[in-house]
Symmetry: C2
Subunit: 209 residues, 2 copies
DNA sequence: GTCTATACGATGATAGAC
DNA sequence: GTCTATCATCGTATAGAC
């Protein structure tokens, strides 16, 4: 086990600091100090601060989306074999389950989720598009399958409801830690399954409405 | 009609620039230049950049929340008179209708919505809390009424679903302009009513699930 | 190829003259 | 209330050491 490379240490430090303080308020000096590298190393290895945050996001987003795509295609395949429509709840589950599980896999993953959630409301279009471009194929796949499963709804309606669903997921993923429910909280290890179950109930019912 | 006051012009310029470029990337120099006031005027009238963004948010949030609260209490009153439980759909409508209508009332209002949506994922707790503190009484009211209307659900579940609902609304309000649906768009003037109708269908069904 | 030291223009903020 | 001058810190760029 050698010392992690300079780029790796920069990515880790940036992920944590961006999540904690936000993109703009986090200075390259804070990142390079935490990573114990020289200030100029960021520009050397990544080109700019903006390219750095893109790299931070892509590092985890690519494998996560691969998994979600695989699960979606499994649901699609299963429906084809059984000669029936894909199940709406299973489609939504394939989309959200990896996200909820991934979020609790490590502190780095949790920081990453915060970062990605925030990126959607990022005013800078180039940062925002990192996420959108990565998710686009996944979104298109889910949109297509949902349209198959909900033939009584127009494409426009399915699209709007998918927008609602993504908003719920995004908002929940980064708010669930920050808001304090007005009642004694359940055991943390149980939160994930409750969250998944309730989200599926809410979203499936809303999507079919 | 006199020339708007210095503070007023600063608020207008800040609202527009914060919405367009974000809080941190917008310099006080850009704001004071656009408002045609001196750089130091912001610190004189508001104290700091952070206090300025708070003032920008409060200016429109206070009357909007008053309206939403009034509508919620009307639904509550009506249910009491008819000796029945408040209608879930009407409760949600009282919460979201003013938001959708307000959003299209002016460009300033639209910018404000962008700002508020973004403020929820703001890493800076002091900025984030401006919104949360303003909405808290409204949220508590809606939470209480929804609990009355959904006696078969636990408080925990209602709370989670309310979180989902707020995420949908928040996400939709600031994304509906930025994403391009994969189909020819409906007439813009019709979008509001479609949006409201579909949101109510989605959220009501999800909440009752 | 990697990395360090250093410099440049612009930023948020403030103090003090008017 | 308004303005100018000033300060520490920011992102970025580059020259040169290893």
């Amino acid at each position: 086990m050698t010392k992690p490379s300079t780029t790796h240490r920069i990515l880790d430090a940036a992920e944590q600091l961006f999540a904690e303080h936000g993109y703009h308020p986090t200075s390259l000096r804070a990142i390079t100090t935490a990573a114990e590298v020289n200030l100029a190393a960021v520009n050397y290895h990544f080109g700019s601060k903006k390219e750095l945050v893109k790299a931070v996001m892509q590092r985890r987003l690519v494998p996560l989306n691969k998994l979600r795509m695989r699960l979606l295609m499994e649901v699609e395949e299963k429906a084809k074999q059984q000669k029936c429509l894909p199940d709406v709840r299973e489609l939504i589950a394939a989309f959200i389950r990896p996200t909820i599980a991934f979020r609790n896999s490590s502190q780095g993953a949790r920081n990453f989720i915060i970062l990605v959630s925030r990126s959607l409301s990022e005013p800078d279009a180039t940062v925002r598009s990192v996420f959108l471009e990565q998710v686009e194929p996944l979104f298109a796949k889910l949109f297509g399958l949902l349209n198959q499963s909900l033939p009584h709804l127009t494409k426009e309606v399915v699209y709007l409801r998918l927008l609602f669903l993504l908003g719920s997921l995004n908002h929940t993923m980064h708010m669930v830690d920050k808001v304090k429910p007005p009642f004694p909280e359940a055991a943390p290890e149980a939160l994930d399954s409750v969250l998944e179950e309730e989200f599926l109930a809410f979203a499936t019912s809303g999507m079919k409405a």
